[in-house]
Symmetry: C2
DNA sequence: TGCAATTAGATTGTGTACAATGTAATTGTA
DNA sequence: TACAATTACATTGTACACAATCTAATTGCA
C-alpha cells in the first residue's frame, strides 16, 4: 500500500458512480427515443407529472440542476408542446412551469419505460434497496 | 400503488446515481482546480499514472468513454504538457498515449486529493465497500 | 421611504458525452 | 493477392452541466 494507491481508479468510489450513471442513462436512450425525450427532459417531466406546477428554482432543487441547465431544457419541452412557462404574477422573478394536456398525456407512454429498464440492473430487490439507501445517504451529506 | 408510481423520481434508482455522481464530481472541482485538471482529465491521468502507456481504445474501455469524448480531452492534456500522443508504429491506426515527465510529476499533487475527498462521503468503510460492490455488479451486467 | 442586498432566471463560455459519420490503415478470405 | 470488411481514431452535430456574470424584481433595514 504505497502513497499512490489512492489514485488507482479501482480504489475510487466516484468513478464507478460516474460510469454507472452514464451507462444506465445510455440504456434509457432507445426507450426515450420512442417518446422523443432526452434523459434530462425525462426527469424534468417526471417531477412535473408528480407536482403539476412548480418554479424553475423548485424544479432545480428536485433535480440538482441550476437555471443554466434548466432554461434550455425547459424551452425545448415548451417547443415540443409538453409544458408552459409563465412568469409568476405574485413575483415576476419566478417562472411557473406547468404541464399541458399533451404533457400530461405523455405520462402513459412514459410509464412503460421503468419496467423495461429493470432488467438491465441485475440486482436483487434487497441489493437495489441498499444501493438506494446508500446513494441518498451520500446525497443528504453532500448538501450539508 | 398505481401504474404511475414507477415514474416517481423517488422510486428511481438511476436518478440518485446520476445526482450523486454529479454532486461528488462538483466537490472535486476546488481540488482539481489547484492542479488545473477537469474531472475527465483527472480520471484519464489516473489510468495513465498506473499504466504508463496505452492506446485511445484501451483508455476508452477503462473509462467507458469513446474517441469522440477522449480525442479533445487528450489534446488538452497534450497542450498542458502532461501527455504525448504518437501513432503506433506497428499499427498506424492506433494512437499511443504516454506520460511526460511533467505528467508523471503531477501524480504527487494529485495524490493529496483522494484523502481530502473522503470526508464528503459519510459512509462507513463497510457501507463504502458494499456500494462499491453493487456499482461494479451493475457495470459488469450493463456491458453484457 | 430610499437604497443596498438578495433573489430568480437568463446568458455566456468552456468542457464534456455520445451518436453518426468520415478516413485511413489493417485483416481476412475468396 | 485483390478487395471487401473491419478497426482505430477524428470530426460533426446535438444536448447537457456548471461557473461566472447579467438583468430585473423584490426585500430588508437604516
Amino acid at each position: 500500500m504505497d502513497k499512490y494507491d489512492c489514485l488507482k481508479i479501482e480504489n475510487q468510489l466516484c468513478f464507478p458512480l460516474y460510469a454507472c450513471s452514464k451507462e444506465i442513462i445510455r440504456h434509457y436512450k432507445p426507450f426515450l427515443d420512442e417518446i422523443d425525450l432526452t434523459y434530462t427532459q425525462y426527469i424534468a417531466m417526471m417531477v412535473l407529472w408528480e407536482k403539476k406546477c412548480l418554479s424553475v428554482k423548485e424544479l432545480g432543487s428536485c433535480l440538482y440542476l441550476d437555471s443554466g441547465t434548466l432554461t434550455p431544457v425547459l424551452k425545448k419541452l415548451e417547443a415540443k408542446g409538453y409544458i408552459e412557462r409563465k412568469r409568476c404574477e405574485a413575483d415576476e422573478r419566478s417562472l411557473n412551469v406547468t404541464l399541458t394536456d399533451e404533457g400530461e398525456k405523455l405520462k402513459d407512454s412514459a410509464a412503460e419505460i421503468p419496467p423495461k429498464m429493470g432488467s438491465c440492473v441485475n440486482l436483487s430487490p434487497e441489493e437495489a434497496g441498499e444501493l438506494y439507501r446508500l446513494l441518498y445517504k451520500i446525497l443528504s451529506n453532500v448538501n450539508q
